[in-house]
Symmetry: C2
Subunit: 266 residues, 2 copies
Protein backbone atom coordinates (compact mmCIF):
# COMPACT_ATOMS: atom_id res chain seq x y z
CA UNK A 1 0.00 0.00 0.00
CA UNK A 2 1.70 3.22 -1.12
CA UNK A 3 2.67 5.80 1.46
CA UNK A 4 1.19 9.26 0.96
CA UNK A 5 3.16 12.48 1.06
CA UNK A 6 1.26 15.72 0.77
CA UNK A 7 3.52 18.12 2.65
CA UNK A 8 5.79 20.30 0.59
CA UNK A 9 8.23 20.44 3.51
CA UNK A 10 8.68 16.67 3.75
CA UNK A 11 12.44 15.98 3.93
CA UNK A 12 12.23 13.17 1.38
CA UNK A 13 10.72 15.62 -1.12
CA UNK A 14 13.64 17.96 -0.55
CA UNK A 15 16.27 15.24 -0.95
CA UNK A 16 14.67 14.06 -4.21
CA UNK A 17 14.31 17.60 -5.47
CA UNK A 18 18.06 18.02 -4.77
CA UNK A 19 18.81 15.38 -7.40
CA UNK A 20 18.28 18.07 -10.01
CA UNK A 21 21.67 19.29 -8.89
CA UNK A 22 24.85 17.51 -10.00
CA UNK A 23 26.57 17.63 -6.62
CA UNK A 24 23.65 15.90 -4.92
CA UNK A 25 23.44 13.28 -7.66
CA UNK A 26 27.08 12.50 -7.10
CA UNK A 27 26.62 12.23 -3.32
CA UNK A 28 23.48 10.14 -3.47
CA UNK A 29 24.51 8.15 -6.59
CA UNK A 30 20.89 8.51 -7.70
CA UNK A 31 19.10 10.40 -10.46
CA UNK A 32 15.64 11.49 -11.56
CA UNK A 33 13.58 10.36 -14.52
CA UNK A 34 10.13 11.72 -15.24
CA UNK A 35 7.08 10.74 -17.19
CA UNK A 36 5.10 7.63 -17.84
CA UNK A 37 6.63 7.00 -21.24
CA UNK A 38 10.22 7.13 -20.00
CA UNK A 39 9.54 5.16 -16.83
CA UNK A 40 7.69 2.49 -18.77
CA UNK A 41 10.62 2.29 -21.18
CA UNK A 42 12.89 1.85 -18.15
CA UNK A 43 10.68 -0.88 -16.69
CA UNK A 44 10.65 -2.77 -19.98
CA UNK A 45 14.45 -2.53 -20.04
CA UNK A 46 14.56 -4.03 -16.57
CA UNK A 47 15.31 -0.78 -14.70
CA UNK A 48 13.02 0.11 -11.84
CA UNK A 49 13.15 3.20 -9.65
CA UNK A 50 13.89 2.78 -5.96
CA UNK A 51 11.35 5.52 -5.31
CA UNK A 52 8.31 6.22 -7.45
CA UNK A 53 6.19 9.34 -6.93
CA UNK A 54 2.82 9.36 -8.61
CA UNK A 55 -0.17 11.71 -8.54
CA UNK A 56 -3.22 10.42 -6.73
CA UNK A 57 -5.24 11.44 -9.81
CA UNK A 58 -3.32 9.08 -12.06
CA UNK A 59 -3.39 6.08 -9.71
CA UNK A 60 -6.09 4.52 -11.89
CA UNK A 61 -4.00 4.62 -15.08
CA UNK A 62 -3.06 1.04 -16.00
CA UNK A 63 0.58 1.91 -16.77
CA UNK A 64 0.89 3.67 -13.42
CA UNK A 65 -0.60 0.63 -11.70
CA UNK A 66 1.87 -1.65 -13.45
CA UNK A 67 4.76 0.57 -12.43
CA UNK A 68 3.64 0.79 -8.79
CA UNK A 69 3.27 -3.00 -8.58
CA UNK A 70 6.67 -3.61 -10.22
CA UNK A 71 8.44 -1.11 -7.96
CA UNK A 72 6.92 -2.59 -4.82
CA UNK A 73 7.60 -6.16 -5.93
CA UNK A 74 11.26 -5.22 -6.43
CA UNK A 75 11.53 -3.80 -2.93
CA UNK A 76 11.24 -0.14 -3.93
CA UNK A 77 8.74 2.32 -2.57
CA UNK A 78 5.79 3.91 -4.37
CA UNK A 79 4.59 7.21 -2.95
CA UNK A 80 1.28 8.83 -3.73
CA UNK A 81 1.55 12.58 -3.81
CA UNK A 82 0.06 15.85 -5.09
CA UNK A 83 0.50 17.60 -8.45
CA UNK A 84 2.18 20.47 -6.57
CA UNK A 85 4.86 18.21 -5.19
CA UNK A 86 5.34 16.53 -8.57
CA UNK A 87 5.82 20.01 -10.02
CA UNK A 88 8.40 20.77 -7.37
CA UNK A 89 10.23 17.52 -8.09
CA UNK A 90 10.24 17.96 -11.85
CA UNK A 91 10.77 21.71 -11.92
CA UNK A 92 7.97 22.08 -14.46
CA UNK A 93 4.62 23.80 -14.25
CA UNK A 94 2.89 20.89 -15.94
CA UNK A 95 4.25 17.99 -13.98
CA UNK A 96 4.47 14.51 -15.35
CA UNK A 97 2.19 11.84 -13.84
CA UNK A 98 5.19 10.01 -12.36
CA UNK A 99 8.69 10.84 -11.17
CA UNK A 100 11.16 8.06 -10.43
CA UNK A 101 14.38 8.03 -8.45
CA UNK A 102 16.90 5.53 -9.86
CA UNK A 103 20.24 4.27 -8.67
CA UNK A 104 22.98 5.40 -11.04
CA UNK A 105 24.48 2.68 -13.19
CA UNK A 106 27.60 2.60 -15.30
CA UNK A 107 29.07 0.17 -17.79
CA UNK A 108 32.83 -0.31 -17.58
CA UNK A 109 34.72 -0.58 -20.88
CA UNK A 110 35.77 -4.10 -19.95
CA UNK A 111 32.14 -5.19 -19.81
CA UNK A 112 31.52 -4.29 -23.45
CA UNK A 113 31.15 -6.99 -26.07
CA UNK A 114 32.21 -5.05 -29.16
CA UNK A 115 30.89 -7.76 -31.48
CA UNK A 116 27.40 -7.34 -30.09
CA UNK A 117 26.65 -4.41 -32.40
CA UNK A 118 27.80 -2.99 -35.71
CA UNK A 119 27.76 0.61 -34.53
CA UNK A 120 29.14 2.22 -31.39
CA UNK A 121 28.87 5.92 -30.67
CA UNK A 122 31.77 7.77 -29.10
CA UNK A 123 31.60 11.42 -28.04
CA UNK A 124 34.29 13.49 -26.46
CA UNK A 125 33.82 16.48 -24.14
CA UNK A 126 30.14 16.71 -24.99
CA UNK A 127 28.83 19.82 -23.26
CA UNK A 128 25.14 19.96 -23.90
CA UNK A 129 22.81 17.59 -22.00
CA UNK A 130 20.22 17.84 -24.76
CA UNK A 131 22.81 16.67 -27.28
CA UNK A 132 23.81 13.79 -25.03
CA UNK A 133 20.23 12.64 -24.60
CA UNK A 134 19.49 13.05 -28.31
CA UNK A 135 22.58 11.00 -29.23
CA UNK A 136 21.40 8.23 -26.89
CA UNK A 137 18.00 8.32 -28.55
CA UNK A 138 19.65 8.02 -31.96
CA UNK A 139 21.81 5.20 -30.57
CA UNK A 140 18.67 3.31 -29.63
CA UNK A 141 17.21 3.84 -33.11
CA UNK A 142 20.27 2.63 -35.03
CA UNK A 143 20.79 -0.32 -32.70
CA UNK A 144 24.10 1.01 -31.39
CA UNK A 145 25.90 -1.13 -28.85
CA UNK A 146 26.40 1.84 -26.56
CA UNK A 147 27.62 5.38 -26.13
CA UNK A 148 31.19 5.85 -24.95
CA UNK A 149 31.81 9.25 -23.36
CA UNK A 150 35.42 10.43 -23.49
CA UNK A 151 36.87 12.99 -21.10
CA UNK A 152 34.85 15.54 -19.24
CA UNK A 153 31.35 15.27 -20.66
CA UNK A 154 28.06 16.58 -19.34
CA UNK A 155 26.40 14.23 -16.84
CA UNK A 156 24.28 11.60 -18.64
CA UNK A 157 22.11 11.43 -15.52
CA UNK A 158 21.19 15.11 -15.58
CA UNK A 159 17.46 15.78 -15.80
CA UNK A 160 17.85 17.38 -19.25
CA UNK A 161 19.87 14.49 -20.68
CA UNK A 162 17.47 11.87 -19.32
CA UNK A 163 14.54 13.82 -20.74
CA UNK A 164 16.10 14.29 -24.18
CA UNK A 165 16.98 10.58 -24.31
CA UNK A 166 13.26 9.74 -24.11
CA UNK A 167 14.16 6.59 -22.19
CA UNK A 168 17.18 5.56 -24.27
CA UNK A 169 19.36 6.11 -21.21
CA UNK A 170 17.84 2.86 -19.98
CA UNK A 171 18.28 0.89 -23.19
CA UNK A 172 21.67 2.08 -24.50
CA UNK A 173 24.70 1.32 -22.30
CA UNK A 174 26.77 4.38 -21.38
CA UNK A 175 30.49 4.00 -20.75
CA UNK A 176 32.64 6.78 -19.30
CA UNK A 177 36.34 6.68 -20.05
CA UNK A 178 39.40 8.79 -20.62
CA UNK A 179 40.88 8.84 -24.12
CA UNK A 180 43.97 6.68 -23.63
CA UNK A 181 42.25 3.78 -21.82
CA UNK A 182 39.57 3.81 -24.52
CA UNK A 183 42.15 3.69 -27.31
CA UNK A 184 44.12 0.93 -25.55
CA UNK A 185 40.94 -1.10 -25.15
CA UNK A 186 39.85 -0.45 -28.76
CA UNK A 187 43.12 -1.74 -30.19
CA UNK A 188 42.82 -5.02 -28.33
CA UNK A 189 40.29 -6.24 -30.88
CA UNK A 190 38.53 -5.40 -34.15
CA UNK A 191 37.01 -1.96 -34.48
CA UNK A 192 37.13 0.81 -37.06
CA UNK A 193 37.52 4.23 -35.44
CA UNK A 194 35.84 6.82 -37.66
CA UNK A 195 36.17 10.49 -36.81
CA UNK A 196 33.92 13.28 -38.00
CA UNK A 197 36.09 16.11 -39.19
CA UNK A 198 36.07 19.28 -41.24
CA UNK A 199 39.72 18.79 -42.22
CA UNK A 200 39.35 16.02 -44.77
CA UNK A 201 38.07 15.65 -48.32
CA UNK A 202 36.75 12.17 -47.62
CA UNK A 203 32.99 12.31 -48.06
CA UNK A 204 31.03 10.27 -45.49
CA UNK A 205 28.92 8.70 -48.25
CA UNK A 206 31.82 7.33 -50.28
CA UNK A 207 33.71 5.95 -47.26
CA UNK A 208 33.31 2.26 -46.45
CA UNK A 209 32.53 1.20 -42.92
CA UNK A 210 33.37 -2.15 -41.40
CA UNK A 211 31.67 -3.45 -38.30
CA UNK A 212 32.16 -2.83 -35.48
CA UNK A 213 32.38 0.86 -36.40
CA UNK A 214 33.15 3.34 -33.63
CA UNK A 215 31.89 6.79 -34.62
CA UNK A 216 33.77 9.56 -32.86
CA UNK A 217 32.14 13.00 -32.52
CA UNK A 218 34.16 15.90 -31.10
CA UNK A 219 33.27 18.72 -28.75
CA UNK A 220 30.46 21.01 -29.93
CA UNK A 221 32.56 24.14 -30.22
CA UNK A 222 36.06 22.88 -30.96
CA UNK A 223 35.73 19.48 -32.59
CA UNK A 224 38.23 16.85 -31.54
CA UNK A 225 41.93 17.38 -30.66
CA UNK A 226 44.44 16.69 -33.44
CA UNK A 227 45.77 13.76 -31.45
CA UNK A 228 42.38 12.05 -31.51
CA UNK A 229 41.97 12.68 -35.22
CA UNK A 230 45.40 11.19 -35.87
CA UNK A 231 44.39 8.01 -34.04
CA UNK A 232 41.33 7.46 -36.24
CA UNK A 233 41.35 4.79 -38.93
CA UNK A 234 39.29 7.07 -41.11
CA UNK A 235 38.27 10.73 -41.06
CA UNK A 236 35.13 11.66 -42.92
CA UNK A 237 33.31 14.85 -43.68
CA UNK A 238 29.64 15.63 -44.01
CA UNK A 239 29.19 18.14 -46.83
CA UNK A 240 27.98 21.57 -45.79
CA UNK A 241 26.80 23.92 -48.47
CA UNK A 242 25.82 26.81 -46.26
CA UNK A 243 27.48 29.75 -44.67
CA UNK A 244 28.03 28.37 -41.19
CA UNK A 245 30.08 25.24 -41.94
CA UNK A 246 28.80 23.47 -38.87
CA UNK A 247 26.12 21.07 -37.79
CA UNK A 248 24.71 20.40 -34.35
CA UNK A 249 26.76 17.58 -32.79
CA UNK A 250 23.77 15.30 -32.27
CA UNK A 251 22.62 15.90 -35.85
CA UNK A 252 26.06 15.15 -37.30
CA UNK A 253 26.28 11.96 -35.24
CA UNK A 254 22.88 10.85 -36.49
CA UNK A 255 23.59 11.56 -40.17
CA UNK A 256 26.79 9.50 -39.87
CA UNK A 257 25.20 6.70 -37.86
CA UNK A 258 22.40 6.28 -40.42
CA UNK A 259 24.92 6.10 -43.26
CA UNK A 260 26.83 3.40 -41.43
CA UNK A 261 23.60 1.57 -40.67
CA UNK A 262 22.51 1.69 -44.32
CA UNK A 263 25.84 0.25 -45.45
CA UNK A 264 25.89 -2.45 -42.81
CA UNK A 265 22.35 -3.52 -43.65
CA UNK A 266 23.38 -3.77 -47.30
CA UNK B 1 30.95 57.38 -30.69
CA UNK B 2 29.08 54.68 -28.75
CA UNK B 3 26.89 55.70 -25.84
CA UNK B 4 27.73 54.09 -22.50
CA UNK B 5 25.21 52.43 -20.20
CA UNK B 6 26.44 51.19 -16.85
CA UNK B 7 23.27 51.42 -14.74
CA UNK B 8 21.36 48.22 -14.26
CA UNK B 9 18.18 50.26 -13.84
CA UNK B 10 18.44 51.97 -17.23
CA UNK B 11 15.00 51.71 -18.89
CA UNK B 12 16.52 50.66 -22.22
CA UNK B 13 18.18 47.71 -20.49
CA UNK B 14 14.84 46.66 -19.11
CA UNK B 15 13.04 46.93 -22.44
CA UNK B 16 15.74 44.86 -24.15
CA UNK B 17 15.75 42.31 -21.36
CA UNK B 18 11.97 42.03 -21.86
CA UNK B 19 12.59 40.65 -25.36
CA UNK B 20 13.33 37.31 -23.74
CA UNK B 21 9.58 37.14 -23.30
CA UNK B 22 7.33 36.28 -26.25
CA UNK B 23 4.67 38.89 -25.47
CA UNK B 24 7.22 41.68 -25.49
CA UNK B 25 8.76 40.41 -28.73
CA UNK B 26 5.36 40.51 -30.32
CA UNK B 27 4.70 44.06 -29.09
CA UNK B 28 8.09 45.44 -30.03
CA UNK B 29 8.47 43.30 -33.19
CA UNK B 30 12.11 42.88 -32.19
CA UNK B 31 14.22 40.01 -30.93
CA UNK B 32 17.57 39.24 -29.31
CA UNK B 33 20.60 37.49 -30.74
CA UNK B 34 23.77 36.96 -28.74
CA UNK B 35 27.40 36.23 -29.38
CA UNK B 36 30.07 37.37 -31.77
CA UNK B 37 29.77 34.33 -33.99
CA UNK B 38 26.03 34.65 -34.51
CA UNK B 39 26.10 38.43 -34.93
CA UNK B 40 28.94 38.19 -37.43
CA UNK B 41 26.97 35.56 -39.34
CA UNK B 42 24.04 37.99 -39.33
CA UNK B 43 26.20 40.87 -40.56
CA UNK B 44 27.59 38.76 -43.39
CA UNK B 45 24.02 37.85 -44.35
CA UNK B 46 23.17 41.54 -44.48
CA UNK B 47 21.25 41.68 -41.20
CA UNK B 48 22.35 44.29 -38.69
CA UNK B 49 20.96 44.90 -35.24
CA UNK B 50 19.23 48.20 -34.53
CA UNK B 51 20.88 48.14 -31.10
CA UNK B 52 24.21 46.52 -30.31
CA UNK B 53 25.41 46.08 -26.73
CA UNK B 54 29.08 45.25 -26.28
CA UNK B 55 31.37 44.92 -23.28
CA UNK B 56 33.95 47.67 -22.85
CA UNK B 57 36.56 44.92 -22.45
CA UNK B 58 35.88 43.52 -25.90
CA UNK B 59 35.85 46.89 -27.71
CA UNK B 60 39.33 46.14 -29.06
CA UNK B 61 38.29 42.86 -30.72
CA UNK B 62 38.41 43.37 -34.49
CA UNK B 63 35.06 41.61 -35.10
CA UNK B 64 33.43 43.78 -32.45
CA UNK B 65 34.92 46.86 -34.07
CA UNK B 66 33.59 45.78 -37.46
CA UNK B 67 30.14 45.19 -36.01
CA UNK B 68 30.04 48.55 -34.20
CA UNK B 69 31.08 50.38 -37.35
CA UNK B 70 28.54 48.52 -39.48
CA UNK B 71 25.70 49.14 -37.03
CA UNK B 72 26.47 52.85 -36.76
CA UNK B 73 26.88 53.21 -40.52
CA UNK B 74 23.43 51.67 -40.98
CA UNK B 75 21.83 54.12 -38.55
CA UNK B 76 21.68 51.74 -35.58
CA UNK B 77 23.11 52.41 -32.17
CA UNK B 78 26.10 50.73 -30.50
CA UNK B 79 26.14 50.82 -26.71
CA UNK B 80 29.14 50.11 -24.56
CA UNK B 81 28.16 48.38 -21.35
CA UNK B 82 29.28 46.17 -18.46
CA UNK B 83 29.55 42.37 -18.22
CA UNK B 84 26.84 42.50 -15.52
CA UNK B 85 24.37 44.15 -17.84
CA UNK B 86 25.27 41.78 -20.68
CA UNK B 87 24.56 38.93 -18.25
CA UNK B 88 21.22 40.46 -17.44
CA UNK B 89 20.36 40.82 -21.13
CA UNK B 90 21.39 37.30 -22.06
CA UNK B 91 20.18 35.56 -18.91
CA UNK B 92 23.48 33.70 -18.65
CA UNK B 93 26.23 33.80 -16.05
CA UNK B 94 28.93 33.89 -18.69
CA UNK B 95 27.63 36.57 -20.98
CA UNK B 96 28.53 36.81 -24.61
CA UNK B 97 30.71 39.69 -25.75
CA UNK B 98 27.85 41.20 -27.75
CA UNK B 99 24.06 41.21 -27.65
CA UNK B 100 22.07 42.54 -30.59
CA UNK B 101 18.49 43.69 -30.91
CA UNK B 102 17.07 42.99 -34.37
CA UNK B 103 13.86 43.92 -36.09
CA UNK B 104 11.79 40.81 -36.76
CA UNK B 105 11.56 39.74 -40.37
CA UNK B 106 9.32 37.29 -42.15
CA UNK B 107 9.21 35.83 -45.61
CA UNK B 108 5.74 35.46 -47.11
CA UNK B 109 5.03 32.29 -49.09
CA UNK B 110 4.44 34.38 -52.18
CA UNK B 111 8.01 35.68 -52.00
CA UNK B 112 9.52 32.20 -52.31
CA UNK B 113 11.18 31.09 -55.51
CA UNK B 114 10.76 27.32 -55.20
CA UNK B 115 13.22 26.68 -58.00
CA UNK B 116 15.97 28.43 -56.08
CA UNK B 117 16.78 25.29 -54.08
CA UNK B 118 16.41 21.52 -54.34
CA UNK B 119 15.39 21.08 -50.72
CA UNK B 120 12.84 22.91 -48.61
CA UNK B 121 12.14 22.04 -44.99
CA UNK B 122 8.58 22.08 -43.69
CA UNK B 123 7.71 21.53 -40.03
CA UNK B 124 4.28 21.52 -38.46
CA UNK B 125 3.44 22.41 -34.86
CA UNK B 126 7.07 22.30 -33.83
CA UNK B 127 7.14 22.80 -30.07
CA UNK B 128 10.76 22.88 -29.05
CA UNK B 129 12.83 26.02 -29.76
CA UNK B 130 16.04 23.98 -29.73
CA UNK B 131 14.61 21.74 -32.44
CA UNK B 132 13.57 24.74 -34.51
CA UNK B 133 17.02 26.31 -34.28
CA UNK B 134 18.73 23.01 -35.01
CA UNK B 135 16.55 22.45 -38.08
CA UNK B 136 17.48 25.91 -39.35
CA UNK B 137 21.15 25.08 -38.84
CA UNK B 138 20.70 21.85 -40.79
CA UNK B 139 18.83 23.83 -43.45
CA UNK B 140 21.83 26.09 -43.85
CA UNK B 141 24.14 23.07 -44.14
CA UNK B 142 22.12 21.28 -46.84
CA UNK B 143 21.51 24.47 -48.78
CA UNK B 144 17.77 24.40 -48.15
CA UNK B 145 15.76 27.18 -49.70
CA UNK B 146 13.99 27.87 -46.42
CA UNK B 147 12.03 26.54 -43.49
CA UNK B 148 8.25 26.67 -43.75
CA UNK B 149 6.51 26.54 -40.36
CA UNK B 150 2.96 25.21 -40.48
CA UNK B 151 0.37 25.95 -37.80
CA UNK B 152 1.19 26.93 -34.26
CA UNK B 153 4.93 26.49 -33.94
CA UNK B 154 7.32 27.76 -31.32
CA UNK B 155 8.57 31.30 -32.02
CA UNK B 156 11.62 31.21 -34.33
CA UNK B 157 12.73 34.48 -32.73
CA UNK B 158 12.89 33.07 -29.21
CA UNK B 159 16.30 33.33 -27.57
CA UNK B 160 16.66 29.52 -27.48
CA UNK B 161 15.77 29.07 -31.16
CA UNK B 162 18.12 31.84 -32.28
CA UNK B 163 20.91 30.36 -30.15
CA UNK B 164 20.39 26.79 -31.43
CA UNK B 165 20.34 28.07 -35.02
CA UNK B 166 23.93 29.34 -34.57
CA UNK B 167 23.12 32.15 -36.95
CA UNK B 168 21.16 30.16 -39.51
CA UNK B 169 18.09 32.22 -38.61
CA UNK B 170 19.77 34.98 -40.59
CA UNK B 171 20.73 32.87 -43.59
CA UNK B 172 17.73 30.55 -44.04
CA UNK B 173 14.40 32.21 -44.86
CA UNK B 174 11.58 31.32 -42.44
CA UNK B 175 8.00 31.31 -43.69
CA UNK B 176 5.00 30.99 -41.38
CA UNK B 177 1.80 29.64 -42.87
CA UNK B 178 -1.29 27.64 -42.12
CA UNK B 179 -1.61 24.23 -43.76
CA UNK B 180 -4.20 24.98 -46.45
CA UNK B 181 -2.57 28.14 -47.84
CA UNK B 182 0.72 26.25 -47.96
CA UNK B 183 -0.82 23.33 -49.83
CA UNK B 184 -2.62 25.64 -52.24
CA UNK B 185 0.62 27.48 -52.96
CA UNK B 186 2.60 24.23 -53.30
CA UNK B 187 0.24 22.85 -55.93
CA UNK B 188 0.60 25.94 -58.10
CA UNK B 189 3.98 24.69 -59.30
CA UNK B 190 6.45 21.81 -59.19
CA UNK B 191 7.27 20.36 -55.80
CA UNK B 192 7.38 16.87 -54.29
CA UNK B 193 5.86 16.81 -50.81
CA UNK B 194 7.57 14.09 -48.79
CA UNK B 195 6.27 13.23 -45.33
CA UNK B 196 8.18 11.44 -42.59
CA UNK B 197 5.96 8.78 -41.18
CA UNK B 198 5.97 5.63 -39.07
CA UNK B 199 2.98 4.26 -40.97
CA UNK B 200 4.64 3.25 -44.20
CA UNK B 201 6.97 0.51 -45.40
CA UNK B 202 8.67 2.84 -47.82
CA UNK B 203 12.30 3.14 -46.70
CA UNK B 204 13.74 6.66 -47.01
CA UNK B 205 16.88 5.30 -48.74
CA UNK B 206 15.05 3.52 -51.53
CA UNK B 207 12.65 6.37 -52.29
CA UNK B 208 13.49 8.72 -55.15
CA UNK B 209 13.35 12.44 -54.61
CA UNK B 210 12.78 15.04 -57.29
CA UNK B 211 13.69 18.67 -56.84
CA UNK B 212 12.27 20.80 -55.43
CA UNK B 213 11.60 18.40 -52.56
CA UNK B 214 9.56 19.66 -49.63
CA UNK B 215 10.35 17.58 -46.54
CA UNK B 216 7.50 17.60 -44.03
CA UNK B 217 8.23 16.79 -40.37
CA UNK B 218 5.35 16.41 -37.93
CA UNK B 219 4.89 17.49 -34.33
CA UNK B 220 7.43 16.04 -31.88
CA UNK B 221 4.92 14.05 -29.83
CA UNK B 222 2.14 13.25 -32.28
CA UNK B 223 3.62 13.28 -35.75
CA UNK B 224 1.49 14.82 -38.49
CA UNK B 225 -2.31 14.65 -38.82
CA UNK B 226 -3.67 11.98 -41.18
CA UNK B 227 -4.94 14.71 -43.48
CA UNK B 228 -1.41 16.05 -43.97
CA UNK B 229 -0.01 12.57 -44.59
CA UNK B 230 -2.74 11.97 -47.19
CA UNK B 231 -1.72 15.12 -49.06
CA UNK B 232 1.90 13.99 -49.38
CA UNK B 233 3.23 12.72 -52.71
CA UNK B 234 5.35 10.23 -50.83
CA UNK B 235 5.57 8.94 -47.26
CA UNK B 236 8.88 7.54 -46.15
CA UNK B 237 10.15 5.90 -43.02
CA UNK B 238 13.53 6.02 -41.33
CA UNK B 239 14.31 2.54 -39.96
CA UNK B 240 14.43 2.26 -36.19
CA UNK B 241 15.86 -0.86 -34.68
CA UNK B 242 15.54 0.08 -31.04
CA UNK B 243 12.92 -0.07 -28.38
CA UNK B 244 11.64 3.47 -28.56
CA UNK B 245 10.55 3.72 -32.21
CA UNK B 246 11.18 7.42 -32.31
CA UNK B 247 13.85 9.93 -33.24
CA UNK B 248 14.24 13.52 -32.21
CA UNK B 249 12.41 15.70 -34.79
CA UNK B 250 15.50 17.71 -35.71
CA UNK B 251 17.53 14.51 -36.09
CA UNK B 252 14.92 12.86 -38.30
CA UNK B 253 14.73 15.98 -40.47
CA UNK B 254 18.51 16.01 -40.86
CA UNK B 255 18.80 12.32 -41.75
CA UNK B 256 16.15 12.81 -44.42
CA UNK B 257 17.58 16.08 -45.71
CA UNK B 258 21.04 14.55 -46.14
CA UNK B 259 19.60 11.61 -48.05
CA UNK B 260 17.79 13.99 -50.40
CA UNK B 261 20.94 16.07 -50.77
CA UNK B 262 23.05 12.99 -51.61
CA UNK B 263 20.56 11.94 -54.30
CA UNK B 264 20.25 15.41 -55.78
CA UNK B 265 24.02 15.83 -55.96
CA UNK B 266 24.18 12.51 -57.79
Amino acid sequence: MPRQITAYSNPLVKSVRDLRDKRHRREQRRFLAEGLRILTEAREAGRLPVLLFFAAQSAGHPLVGTLVAAVEAAGGEAIETTPDILSKLSGKDNPQAVVGVFEEFDTPLAAIDRQAAGIWLVAERLRDPGNLGTILRTGDAVGAGGLILIGECVDPFSVEAVRASMGALFTVPVVRSEWQPFLDWLRLGPGQLVGLSLDTDHDYRSARYTAPTFLLTGNEAQGMPDEYAAACDLLVKIPMLGKADSLNAAVATAVMAYEVLAQQRG
